[in-house]
């Protein structure tokens, strides 16, 4: 062994061990922060999509309940009957990414948007003699 080589090797080893311990200590902290962050965002988004659906069921347009207009749009397929919802949802959903489906038929959607938080409920279809309720789904990014 060349003189001094042992000391340098020891120093290198020490540095590597310190680095490993540092990473080992840092990674769990980072993982906890990541999970807490994800949990808080999940809670926020899940709440947000619920409030969006509840609001859709309650809001009126020209003295008519939006839930009735959604049913009309689904059953009669009246053109642009729910388009008035777009400016409202654009304001309520900051990402401006949302989708409204009734029985898997898309009634309102935004281009290049894939919602990841969904909520479903049932909507009354007063004009449909075959089935009086259908599943309504709202998704936000």
């Amino acid at each position: 062994m060349v003189k001094g080589q042992g000391g340098i090797e020891l120093l290198m080893m020490g540095a590597i061990v310190v680095l490993i311990i540092f990473m080992a200590g840092l990674l769990p902290t980072a993982a906890v922060k990541y999970n807490l962050d994800k949990e808080a965002i999940f809670e926020y988004k899940y709440n947000k999509v619920q409030h969006t659906l509840l609001t859709l069921f309650s809001v009126t347009h020209d003295e008519k309940k939006v839930s009735e207009l959604i049913a009309e749009k689904f059953f009669i397929d009246k053109p642009s009957s729910v388009d008035f919802l777009k400016p409202i949802l654009d304001k309520q959903i900051e990402s401006k990414c949302y989708q409204l489906n009734v029985s898997n038929k898309i009634l309102l959607s935004v281009d290049d948007c894939n919602p990841s938080y969904w909520i479903n409920s049932t909507i009354v279809l007063p004009y449909n003699p075959n089935k009086l309720v259908e599943e309504i789904k709202v998704g936000i990014e």
């Binding site: 020891l10 808080a40 609001t55 304001k91």
Partner: protein, 217 residues
């Protein structure tokens, strides 16, 4: 270098490296724990703002009542007028209206906290700002000086920022100068807000937003 010299250098290096290890491990244990605790408290604060929003939307003195049942997420306009401060009134008298309302604060706030609740009517606009209502709350069980905090807010808040509370992109924690008044924890998650409906009459229900800032000590 003789054997004795080489041995003493090697021993010194070992002692040095052991010392570095000890300091590094100590730092990680103490620092890491402190960091995790701080993060949990931070997120608890965000959760409190979400919970407050959900409770507010369902309160019997706020929610719309049709004679048979209360409607969650539909805020009765008459109740908002009675229990909160109207936009114009808040903009003109924010220095007095910023004081917590005891009617809502009682049984509806976290201890050691100050909260701001803003309801915006997204279907009514004037001068580029949405129509809305504001209230502030503070838990009755306090260990901080509410007067000192309110005085700080009154001194630091820029009056020109107050009308911006009634816009979509207002950052409540920035307008309420949470950094300048040295508040330890404040929520950011409901700066944009949750969708709500505002009931004027049975056949006139507007879309709205509820924004909440919770500051905790």
């Amino acid at each position: 270098m003789n054997k004795a010299q080489a041995f003493s250098i090697s021993s010194m290096l070992e002692i040095l490296i052991s010392g570095v290890f000890a300091v590094a491990i100590g730092w990680l244990l103490i620092g890491g724990h402190a960091s995790i605790t701080q993060m949990s408290i931070e997120y608890e604060n965000e959760r409190h703002s979400l919970t407050l929003a959900n409770i507010f939307d369902s309160r019997s003195d706020i929610a719309y009542f049709d004679g048979y049942q209360y409607h969650r997420d539909v805020l009765d306009k008459t109740n908002l007028v009675n229990l909160m401060t109207k936009k114009q009134d808040f903009i003109s008298n924010w220095q007095t209206k910023i004081n917590p309302d005891p009617r809502l604060s009682e049984n509806f706030s976290y201890p050691d906290s100050f909260a701001v609740i803003i309801v915006l009517d997204l279907e009514k606009q004037s001068g580029g700002k949405y129509d809305g209502w504001v209230t502030t709350l503070s838990g009755t069980n306090r260990t901080f000086s509410l007067d000192d905090f309110l005085n700080c807010l009154k001194e630091k808040i820029n009056p020109d920022d107050i009308p911006n509370l009634f816009t979509l992109d207002s950052n409540l924690h920035e307008i309420f100068k949470t950094e300048d008044c040295k508040t330890p924890m404040y929520s950011k998650i409901l700066d944009y807000g949750f969708p709500v409906a505002i009931g004027y009459q049975y056949d006139d229900v507007h879309a709205g937003l509820i924004k909440i800032l919770v500051i905790e000590w």
